[in-house]
Symmetry: C3
Subunit: 189 residues, 3 copies
């Protein structure tokens, strides 16, 4: 009988364990979130201004009626759409060996302050990383840090999701800026 | 022996319960989907038309060869790309206190009828909500309701996913429209 | 006693089974990924070139300072933003009955080679499929195949996620191209 009651206790334990552990997709998850992967990169944007076509990594391609495509528009660049192909580096040096490219677009979308909306990918094809990470979200760039969503990935980053925290590491006039991206992935496959 | 058979029955029950409850990521889920969070907001778009720069919350910044950036193009505005920074309110009154901003872009993308593609965020920084919700998807705006994807979120909406059902709550000529967004989140963290 | 030890063995088995099967969201998943759904479609893009307004399914709506909106720009079309509403077919024949529309945009984003960034949806309203699938990602179109992310879906594709492998099935000058999209969904609801 002692064995049986031990058994019963064990059973109860299993039962309790699994009823709490079984995830329900539509239930609120616990608040302790450890990333399954954490990555830090820098990327460098040199915007075309009419004189730097050789070095430029980005260009204005859309602008409101009152703007043009060689000078960022008034009203905090509201309406300027910029396409970019920026080198990604592991440190904050523009001249370090790029390990990938940040490719996509940003749109300045507010008249009163600088803020933008981003849709882009990190595209890797190096010994360290192969594949891509895709991002989307609002970038209120006057904030010290701001979070955007990692909405998917391919290759080494197959099906990944997470949050990327951006910060402006350098800002030189209206032509060059450098962003630091700390990527925390919470869904890894 | 009776105890043992009861035990066996109990075991069988557990076994059956968990074999059906254990989720496999790549298996089709049950069709009963309860949102873990439901939110309703309104947002208000006043498009720049050359005369309303003070009130305008959006502007045409891209257009096909036959269009221009102060008047929406022919052919159901096909090709017009609009950047917006629209106030979000809890009711359908443009003059209610905004609790956030809807920021991003839409592109009219069909010649035969009105339809658009949306990429935008709800950005909150109020006592009610902090953080952002990111959206993407097709908006066939002549339909009474249409669904787009919630592709991610940050802050209070960390890692969220779901579906937002949009409906046009008001439409005044070519300058003002108001959308109702019912957001149903099915992944909450 | 034999029964009890059998029972114990059974218990141990259950325990082992579930401890390995219980998924932790933030843990790395096994590397065997079977799609829960696989779909293959073709879509057809005819870009407006000033002479084909009747047949064109897409148009340049943004371009860098050195470009224009009837001819794709120099430097591998860098900066050209194209809006499209392309028919989706089940085979590679442009004249097959469309079962939906591919709607959204692409932006050529590199000066040295052809590559683009895509944001678009497959919109279905047929007997086969109702609802939409939303995509985002980098399309290095000189590669034989390239992967983009399925970032969400609605209707029949409610909450879906996955990877779409694109390949250029045909390319006729600068006006017509046809893409094959093999969609592998790994999250089905």
């Amino acid at each position: 009988m002692k064995l049986i009651s031990t058994l019963l206790f064990f059973l109860l334990l299993i039962s309790l364990t699994y009823s709490s552990a079984t995830p329900t997709r539509s239930r609120k998850r616990d608040r302790v979130h450890e990333p399954c992967k954490r990555l830090v990169f820098y990327f460098h944007d040199i915007i075309y201004n009419g004189h730097n076509s050789k070095n430029a990594t980005s260009a204005i391609v859309g602008t409101p009626a009152w703007g043009n495509r060689t000078i960022l528009a008034n009203q905090n660049h509201f309406g300027d759409l910029v396409v970019f192909d920026d080198p990604i580096t592991l440190d904050n040096n523009l001249h370090s060996r790029p390990i990938g490219r940040a490719q996509g677009f940003y749109i300045y979308d507010k008249k009163e302050i600088f803020t933008a909306w981003l849709g882009f990918s990190f595209v890797f094809n190096s010994t360290q990383h192969k594949g891509s990470i895709n991002f989307a979200g609002a970038d209120p760039l006057m904030n010290k840090t701001r979070d955007i969503s990692v909405i998917g990935g391919t290759g080494d980053f197959f099906m990944t999701r997470g949050v990327a925290t951006l910060s402006t590491d350098s800002f030189e006039g209206e032509v060059y800026f450098r962003l630091r991206a700390e990527i925390n992935l919470y869904e890894c496959w």
